[in-house]
Amino acid sequence: MIIDHPLLGPRDSSEFTYLGDAKLIERPDPDAETATRDFYEYAYLRDNPAGWHEELWFHEAGDRSWLVVTRNTLTHEISKVEMARDVARGKGRSK
């Protein structure tokens, strides 16, 4: 596959390491009442859709950026690639 890196352009996916569902960015609040349940769902439950899937790829053999790739798990088509750091900020993550 080819991943079109937002900064570097098209790169062979073999340069990347796959992590999984981009929801892993949304780490729950460790101080919440329901923290244990929240972290269980965060760490273990997945939508695992047959279709469009937002997922995390690490450019291990590249610029060491984490990317959020929107890819179709049926066709492998990729519709969007973003810097994970921007996505995380967009979701309100900070320090």
């Binding site: 999984g20 569902d21 769902e41």
Partner: protein, 416 residues
Amino acid sequence: MRYSGFQVIKQALSGHKGWTPAWRDPEPQPHYDIIIIGGGGHGLATAYYLAKEFGGKRIAVLEKGWIGGGNVGRNTTIIRSNYLLDGNEPFYEFSLKLWEGLEQDFNYNAMISQRGILNLIHTDAQRDAFIRRGNAMLLNGADAEMLTTAQIKKRYPYLNTEDARFPIKGGLAQHRGGTVRHDAVAWGYARGADSRGVDIIQNCEVTGFKIENGTVLGVETSRGFIGAGKVGCAVAGSSSRLMSKANMRLPMESHVLQAFVSEGLKPVMAGVVTFGAGHFYCSQSDKGGLVFGGDLDGYNSYAQRGNLPVLEDVCEGGMAIFPAFGRARLLRMWGGVMDMSMDGSPIIDKTHIDGLYFNGGWCYGGFKATPASGFCFAHLLAKDAPHPFATDYRFDRFEKGRMIDEKGVGNQPNLH
């Protein structure tokens, strides 16, 4: 019709006119006691054992395509019970014992041949881990033997021990491991279930569940609504898709695993060899093809095909230990969709919905588990209690922190 050598001769002499269809092609009934979704190995085995061992009546298997078209028809056909952990080893050993009597049991020759499986050892730490595993196998009543490099060389003289990047320091063998003609497993179970009254309904896709106040009443299908007392799901890589129709999220991802076969060659490999320092395992079929595989492609996928990097990675592993295979040719490659669970172990459990039962998360251990999976799932469906060998395969083990993680990679399905 009972199959036998005599039958084959008799039919041959009468122009083969007497052979009947291996299973019926029935129309779906309006209601069944138990519906099994998924006409793969596990689903068919479940129906077979329900009918044969648990006196099940009015049972149907619903298959969206043709039976045996999923992972049971697209794997590398290996059977073994060389597991480490308490939650797993008794179950897989039970499965291996069922394999050992299966052909006579369902009157179909699935060519189960226990020519042994060998895990190569390359480091001291690996040896320590394999000794622990081999001991666990023996303590569970399975067979295991530690082989020296010399003993291995005797079995596989062309193994690369001279110029190896990762020297071979021995191997853990399970002589009762081996291979099976995979398609025949699906056909044998189907034929056995059909002859015991199970309706095997092909080209019947489940499009939804009918659930009222917490109880499942039946399934919507491409061939209309079918009522059921109980519904058991055994759809492997499609588990998340199916269970989402019951609003369930699973501790699971679907990944593609490629498998490869070479042109037919005169026999060179007796058993199965796995190469841990690379990603490669290989056996040779009764037709002569080298059947081999390696790692997952590594990304979520429902496409039954993979890509070049893994093909190359697998062949690199192959050439690293079998440099004599260089001039053998890859004939065909394909992919199967694996239901990769969060700890690498399966789930055979009730769901929070009454009457809805689940079997999945087999990762790439599914084929060897077929008989025990079917037997234990049938037990659960029939008795509403887990089979003694499958008590740990629960949904809640993740929330409770009781993972069964053979590889020790945690909640990272593509690494299991």
